[in-house]
């Protein structure tokens, strides 16, 4: 299995996993690979390293995908047959644009954007980045003619946040809980002020009236829009669970990210988001194949002297501590996933931050099985 097969028939690919495992790099390499095969692909990145952003031509930040210069993409004679587009998500702007879209009039949109609950909602609050990432993905899926959209997910500690945070925020915007509390709509403040129902009395004691008043004003402004939000949320949900969507799990081979990957895989199954496969990034492969680092000493010492040989041997030994760790964790992942093939990307010498690096990663993702085995053997021996 290569990414080509994993993403066959997919129009949306979501790259998710723990923080710090290389999601941005993998999502860019996936998009590059699909473009190389002839597709028109857009990658939505969240916060790429500056050099990677430069490599992808992410200089004009207008919250819209821009085509990456095909000439710049061609490295060592390998180019792309399709088109690669890239954008960097501007979370605040995406939120504002969503309001512009959904608001009945421009002046209402302005009022909402000036509301203080909205301002906090769209910037400071965690979950807003996750929410807007999905909103942007949906917009691109509906309105543009890309064959494949690749989404890099926001850097959060817990990969599950990505799946739950947008729902929480969407539920808030739909105002379901608020409607129940502040019925009749728009008269919330009065109802709370009178403190009729014991629940509202308690709420007032606990939260303070002004917060409810502000929220009530906010929902007053949203007015009939809450239904549009609900409708939209339902459509987004449909997109996320459609067979044309695939969640590509990205992990490193360390214990915690692997634990989280296993957990994430189960959650995907529960909430009905189609699972596409797993990329294990930065793997330390075993280079010993049963031999001992001590066998190294004699022949090398003649070449480079005893002191340097000791340093080389110690380094080799330390590397294999990590290789053993990685192999153990990968075996655990394989066992938990039951037969699903894993794509392994080795630990490369350097951070991947340019197109050449992306092409290097790309080979481990898109080459046919045998070729990938050969590539890994090349790293190992």
């Amino acid at each position: 299995m290569s990414v080509t097969q994993l993403l066959a028939g997919k129009r949306v690919c979501i790259c998710g996993g723990s923080g710090g495992v290389g999601k941005t790099t993998i999502s860019a390499a996936v998009a590059l690979g699909a473009a190389a095969e002839g597709a028109k692909v857009a990658v939505v990145t969240i916060d790429p390293a500056r050099r990677l952003a430069n490599a992808l031509g992410l200089l004009v930040l207008d919250n819209e995908p821009r085509r990456v210069d095909p000439g710049a993409l061609a490295v060592n004679g390998t180019g792309v047959r399709g088109e690669l587009w890239a954008m960097m998500l501007d979370s605040k702007r995406t939120f504002d644009e969503l309001i512009d879209r959904v608001a009945p009039t421009a002046s209402r949109a302005r009022e909402i954007k000036a509301n203080r609950v909205y301002r906090e909602l769209s910037t400071a609050v965690s979950g807003s980045q996750e929410f807007t990432a999905i909103a942007k993905l949906y917009e691109l899926e509906q309105e543009r003619d890309f064959d494949l959209l690749v989404l890099d997910t926001p850097p959060s500690r817990n990969a599950l946040d990505f799946l739950y945070a947008p729902r929480r925020l969407a539920a808030f915007l739909e105002g379901r809980a608020m409607k129940t509390l502040l019925r009749p709509t728009g008269l919330g403040v009065r109802a709370v002020g009178r403190g009729t129902a014991p629940l509202l009395g308690g709420l007032r004691r606990i939260t303070g009236v002004d917060l409810l008043a502000d929220l009530s004003t906010f929902f007053g402004l949203l007015g009939g829009m809450t239904e549009s939000f609900a409708l939209r949320a339902a459509k987004v949900q449909k997109m996320l669970t459609a067979p044309t969507t695939g969640f590509l799990l990205v992990t490193s081979a360390q214990r915690e990210p692997i634990d989280e990957a296993i957990w994430l895989r189960r959650t995907l199954a529960r909430i009905g988001v189609p699972f596409a496969g797993v990329v294990v990034n930065r793997v330390h492969h075993d280079m010993l194949s049963g031999r001992e680092p001590s066998q190294l000493a004699a022949p090398l010492a003649e070449e480079i002297g005893p002191a340097l040989t000791r340093a080389v041997a110690q380094n080799f030994h330390d590397y294999h501590v990590l290789a053993r760790r990685d192999q153990g964790n990968i075996a655990r992942l394989r066992h938990a996933l039951g037969g699903h093939s894993l794509l392994l990307v080795p630990y490369l010498d350097d951070d991947v931050h340019d197109l050449e690096g992306l092409w290097r990663v790309h080979r481990y993702l898109f080459s046919p099985e045998q070729e990938r085995e050969r590539l890994i053997a090349e790293v190992v021996a």
Binding site: S18, G19, G20, V21, D47, A49, R50, R51, A124, V125, S126, G127, S128, P155, S156, R157, N158, R168, A171, F172, A177, M178, T180, P198, L199, G201, G202, L203, R204, R205, I206, G208, V209, D210, L211, D214, L215, P257, M287, R291, P293, Q295, L296, P299, L300, E303, I304, A311, V312, A313, Q314, N315, Y319, V321, L322, G328, D350, D351, H353, A381
Partner: protein, 309 residues
């Protein structure tokens, strides 16, 4: 500046995957060695801290890992239940039992953060509102990733501003007063010597200053040892070119890769140091070549922190 461990509240933040939790426990061990009653509070309930010490199932309970060092995993829902029980008595219990209220409170953006911060604040009080709870000298917060971290620190103030009056505003102001007091609260960033973590640390400092908060200490984690000097690279390369023995070739290649990575790390460390220009400088912790991080490794990191603090 007040010494780091003289502060009651220490927030540890940094990009995902840089080892925040590990550093938080190592710092906790240092504090406990100095006789300070210390708790490491993990937000988001992933149970990583307690997992290291092979004691499971504790979650929202203060659990003693080693003498003087406790841990707790804070989740918003439990924090809310506790808050309602303590603050609002019978009404609180009634409201807390209402599903509508749960849905409302936890769906309100920022409320989860506020509730979690409220619990962190409670842990740091001399007079704990949790009945029978003993006070801590130091509360170390294993905080969310950098970007969300500042948002989290800001949350109590944000709520105080939005709510203006009432208990939430009052509580928000109380918590914010502690967070913004540099004699009582410190912010520590953890970064690995790689491009994005370094960039995030530099911009974290800016956003903290923008918020009238300060970055008190930066810890560069997982720093590779310098095993090879630059003038040895040529020797290794020539040996690789001549050698036909597969094992020797693998080892030489591993050595050259390691050297390249170390060079990249040194460059990023320089960038971090120059960019920060901090009084306290940057503390370095080594990369640990270990299959799992057990107690011995954590104690070793604590040793290294202790001499550098």
């Amino acid at each position: 500046m007040t010494e780091l461990l003289d502060r009651r509240l220490i927030f540890i933040t940094g990009k995902g995957g840089v080892g925040k939790s590990t550093v938080a426990i190592a710092l906790g061990l240092v504090a406990a060695r100095r006789g300070l009653r210390t708790i490491v509070a993990e937000l988001h309930s992933q149970e990583r801290v307690q997992g290291t010490f092979a004691q499971h199932g504790a979650r929202f309970r203060e659990l003693e890992l080693v003498p003087g060092l406790f841990s707790i995993s804070i989740d918003a829902e439990r924090a809310m239940e506790e808050y309602l029980r303590v603050k609002a008595g019978a009404v609180g219990r009634a409201v807390g039992a209402s599903r509508v209220f749960h849905a409302f409170a936890l769906a309100t953006p920022g409320m989860r953060e506020l509730l979690s911060m409220g619990k962190v604040w409670e842990l740091a009080q001399l007079h704990r509102r949790t009945r029978g709870a003993a006070p801590y000298d130091v509360v170390i917060v294993d905080a969310p990733a950098t970007g969300h971290g500042v948002g989290m620190l800001r949350t109590p103030k944000t709520f105080a501003e939005i709510a203006r009056v009432g208990p939430i505003a009052q509580q928000g102001r109380q918590i914010a007063a502690m967070i913004y007091d540099r004699d009582r609260t410190a912010v520590v960033a953890v970064a690995t010597p790689e491009e994005i973590p370094v960039s995030e640390t530099l911009s974290l400092r800016e956003s903290l200053e923008h918020e009238h908060l300060a970055l008190d200490l930066v810890i560069a984690n997982a720093v590779y040892p310098t095993r090879f000097e630059s003038d040895q690279v040529g020797v290794l390369e020539r040996a690789l070119a001549r050698s036909e023995e597969p094992l020797a070739r693998s080892a030489l290649r591993a050595a050259l890769s390691e050297h390249a990575r170390t060079q990249t790390q040194r460059a990023q460390l320089d960038r971090l140091r120059i960019g920060l220009n901090l009084d306290g400088g940057v503390i370095e912790l080594p990369f640990l070549f270990a299959e799992t991080l057990d107690r011995a490794e954590l104690e070793r990191l604590a040793d290294l922190l202790e001499v550098q603090l």
